[in-house]
């Protein structure tokens, strides 16, 4: 049986200098091309109850597995669960797990106003337990509730937090003889936090009123003052407004993003043009890309200016959606009356949605940077060439967001692969192409016995290195392999994940996920 050295740290990062780590025996572990180390299982090769008691404290301890023969670090992660017999010959064991631990809790619920009225969507503020966060890292849970009042929702949130902030024991009656611990890779901890990224949207969705535009001199133009309060600068990419036609205008609606010139619209930075043919007689949301995306600087005042390209007409003009509830708090709306900007009566804000984009590789970097609790560096080494909105409403966790971006991949039509490396840095790169696989030294060959070799050097690679994210060529000449090769030219597959079984020193790679697997991973249909 191959030997491994186990290194553990406590939750403050101090090495565990105890004999109990030397009694831990690796059962197996796995890795994934997306994320890196997935899981590991170890057994304490002793019924020593003192050590078992010591093990109880080890939840969320960082753990590293070294191959003794080569000194190579072959797996790294944290302790996520343990099952410990309560004594020699005991009929059951006690399990502790991070799975059901939550130290940040929020409730979303349907609020019913007292005395009736339409129910409305509400959510509580996050409640948290700082001590638990210090020990186990931030682990968030958003719970949907049927609570109908603010008080009931807050009470439920606090009750769940009180229960969930510590690992709750569960009993196992499977007759476990020795303590076992399960570990997860650091990538998995990205699923512990929801990803909220407000940058990328500046909007006012409230209101249902209309404002004439281009009918008379008093409504020649509309401006809405806006300020980027999202916490960072971003690229304004498109604009949405709510508009309808009155009569049959044939000109264009013009929406401009303008710089601030002493409190009124100044230099035009970007323009979106909406032909009358795209506007209907009923109010609808219309979205247009700017001709050139422009940087929307943090904490800087801008103006959205809406006008028509044709002449004023009382019979053929436009109506623009506004909000007389004045929900937008960062700036006012004004009308141009031909000589000056004046306040509408009654006053209102524009209904609008200014959308931004990032290159998806930058989004990937930010998702991980902003969410990882282990990370000391993240690098997406190949730019994606693809752009999409970076705005995230916080309804999905960071792992889901990151993996979706990785599977979306690059403009070269390949996925991203990579994950947490042994120095706890995240390195993500475009999946290497198959056509260079046979000349790439880090790729492997595998014979029919499951032994692996360097692709170019053809010398043995220890199975416990458990390579993933590389191409593998099946080199044995059997009728089955030949049959596959006759159609595929070569039996080459990309290793998406792999398991290593320490008990028989075997390596079991799995080829790249099928389309349905990807769909399952990302939660979106293809």
């Amino acid at each position: 049986m191959r030997k491994f050295s186990i290194v553990m740290k406590d939750r403050k990062g101090n090495y565990i200098n105890s004999d109990f780590t030397s009694l831990l025996q690796v059962i197996g572990f796995s890795k994934s091309a997306i994320g890196g180390p997935l899981w590991a299982r170890l057994r304490m090769n002793s019924t020593n109850e003192d050590y078992a008691a010591e093990l109880v404290n080890a939840l969320r301890y960082p753990i590293e597995i070294y191959d003794v023969e080569t000194g190579e670090k072959v797996w790294w992660g944290i302790v996520s669960e343990m099952r410990i017999p309560i004594g020699v010959g005991a009929s059951f064991s006690i399990g502790l797990s991070l799975e059901r631990l939550f130290n940040y809790v929020k409730i979303v619920y349907s609020y019913s106003p007292p005395g009736g009225g339409a129910a409305e969507y509400r959510e509580t503020a996050w409640a948290n337990d700082a001590s638990s966060v210090t020990e186990y890292w931030r682990k968030e849970k958003i719970i949907s509730s049927s609570a109908s009042s603010d008080m009931a929702a807050a009470s439920k949130r606090d009750t769940i937090l009180a229960i969930g902030k510590v690992p709750t024991p569960k009993l196992d009656f499977s007759g476990l003889e020795f303590p076992e611990i399960d570990c997860i890779g650091y990538w998995e901890t990205l699923s512990w936090v929801y990803y909220l990224h407000l940058a990328g949207v500046e909007a006012n969705a409230a209101g249902g009123e209309e404002q004439d535009l281009g009918k008379i001199a008093g409504n020649t133009k509309i401006y809405q003052k806006i300020i980027n309060n999202s916490g960072e600068s971003w690229m304004a990419y498109n604009i949405s407004i709510y508009a309808s036609t009155f009569g049959t205008p044939t000109d264009n609606l013009i929406v401009q993003l303008c710089a601030n010139n002493a409190g009124v619209p100044g230099t035009v930075l970007a323009t979106a043009t909406i032909p009358a043919s795209e506007i209907e007689s009923g109010t609808q949301k219309i979205t247009k890309d700017f001709s050139t995306p422009v940087t929307f600087e943090l904490a800087t005042t801008y103006f959205l200016v809406v006008s028509r390209s044709g002449a004023l007409s009382s019979v053929n003009h436009y109506k623009i959606g506004v909000d007389e509830g004045l929900s937008y708090t960062s700036g006012e709306m004004r009308l141009w009356n031909g000589s000056s900007w004046v306040t509408r009566v009654p006053d209102a804000d524009l209904k609008f949605h200014l959308g931004g984009v990032y290159e998806t590789s930058r989004q990937l970097t930010e998702v991980i940077n902003e969410s990882a609790q282990f990370d000391i560096g993240v690098e997406v080494t190949d730019a994606s060439g693809l752009y999409s909105s970076q705005y995230r409403d916080g309804s999905r966790n960071a792992k889901e967001e990151a993996e979706e971006l990785m599977i979306t991949g690059t403009s070269g039509l390949v996925r991203y692969v990579g994950g947490v490396d042994e120095d706890l840095h995240v390195r993500i790169y475009a999946e290497p192409a198959e056509w260079i696989a046979r000349s790439t030294a880090s790729n492997i060959r595998m014979d029919k016995n499951g032994n692996i070799f360097g692709m170019v050097s053809n010398t043995p690679v220890p199975n416990c290195f458990c390579p993933v994210g590389v191409w593998c060529e099946l080199v044995s000449r059997t009728p089955v392999v030949d049959a596959i090769q006759s159609t595929e030219d070569q039996f080459m597959f990309f290793i998406d994940s792999a398991e290593y079984n320490a008990e028989d020193d075997s390596y079991k790679p799995q080829p790249r996920a099928s389309v349905s697997d990807i769909e399952q991973i990302t939660g979106f249909g293809l």
């Binding site: 030997k3 050295s5 290194v7 101090n14 090495y15 565990i16 200098n17 004999d19 009694l23 002793s46 019924t47 020593n48 003192d50 050590y51 070294y66 003794v68 023969e69 080569t70 000194g71 190579e72 000391i376 560096g377 690098e379 080494t381 490396d421 042994e422 120095d423 840095h425 390195r427 000349s439 790439t440 030294a441 880090s442 360097g454 170019v456 050097s457 053809n458 010398t459």
Partner: protein, 450 residues
Amino acid sequence: MAFDLDLYQNSTTYSLDSGTYVYGVDWVPMNGNDTETEVVESILIKLKGTGAQILAQVSVWERLLSEAEDYAKTSINQLLRVMIRARLDTGESLYESVVLGGWISWNSRKPQISLVSQFAEITVSVRRQNFWDAVTPIVIPLTNRYATRTTSAIAVDNRDDSTHDNFVTITGTDVLGSLPGATKIEFKNTFNDSLRAGDVYFFLNRRSAPASFQHMIEGESATSGGSTVADANASGGNTRTVTIAATGETTMYYWDLTTTVLDNAKGNLFRIYGSFKGLSSVASTWIKLFISIAGLTILSEGKWKIISGYTGALVDFGTFRLPPYLVDTGSVYPLRLHMVVKTTNSTSRPFDLDYLLLGSVDENRVLRSNGYGLGYNVTLYDDPKNRALYTDGWSSTGKLGNYIGIGDPIKLWPGADSKLYFLWGSQTGSWISKYTATVKISHYPRKRAL
């Protein structure tokens, strides 16, 4: 021929083959095969005395076996550890094996119910580890430029050149026994500086022509890349500097691996460490090594190591097989070893390499400081036979358990000439090629069959 057979605990010997109440012993040593971790010895003992005397004697042995079992479970209190000690003839070395438990059975009636109560015969079954270690360790004579076959502590350097050695040579015939045995290494920091030593690395080369294998590659010996800068504190008296500003993947240095180097390496695995006097900490910087045929076909490549924010001077480039093909055929075609950097922005990145160490992984061990490190004149003891890893020699008396071991402790192989390489970093990560130490090695000859 007269054999000794005892149980031993905490400086006290409990004879199984002699004493007031023992008048006969019949024992044939057991040997397990190479897959078994423990064996059971059956020792037939004839006792004489009153019933109470015999029972008292049996009770002592039974207590020891019970405590041995407890120790095997807890492995904490060394004072409870019980050994079975034996030698098959006078004049032989005394060997011992850790007792893991055992039991005693009566072959005759118990004395208090026997009509002939002055005699009894028992079988002591002793469950023990499947090997014997010599009780007394042998200090291994060590050789390098500072001494020849010395059994005193020998000086070693954290660099290797015409005036420094970072290794000791071990002669195979000095390593006795028949199995690779527990080896105690005493590593003393002799560099007088307030900056303490940190992690310590041991690499034993016994497979790759230890007498002639070139385990050091100096930065300044690069065939291409960078420029040589004199530094009296560096290995070879120089470092090799290069500044990279280009984005993408760029070769910093490469070295020619000659046929001699590759032939001596014999297709074995090596961990390659870089000792850098200066290492760019600019964001988005990754480095790695690869081996090629003349810079064209890449035969073997390591993992990218991120350097951004890295505070150490030693970089672990991972494990490489040398040569990467044609294992030990001899006359291998020369290859190239490249160090490359990958960046995503064009910020200038300076690198200053002292040397690469090709650490044999035949036996390899990392002693990682978990704080405080190894001060001047403090010794790091790696003593696997006594399950001890500690530092001692601090101004305040006492052993400090401030290191953890990664990998198995080094074992010396009987009859095998070998070379033990040393490498160490500082507690803060600073470059310390100028540091010195002394080393002393003791070996416990190990056998499966007495």
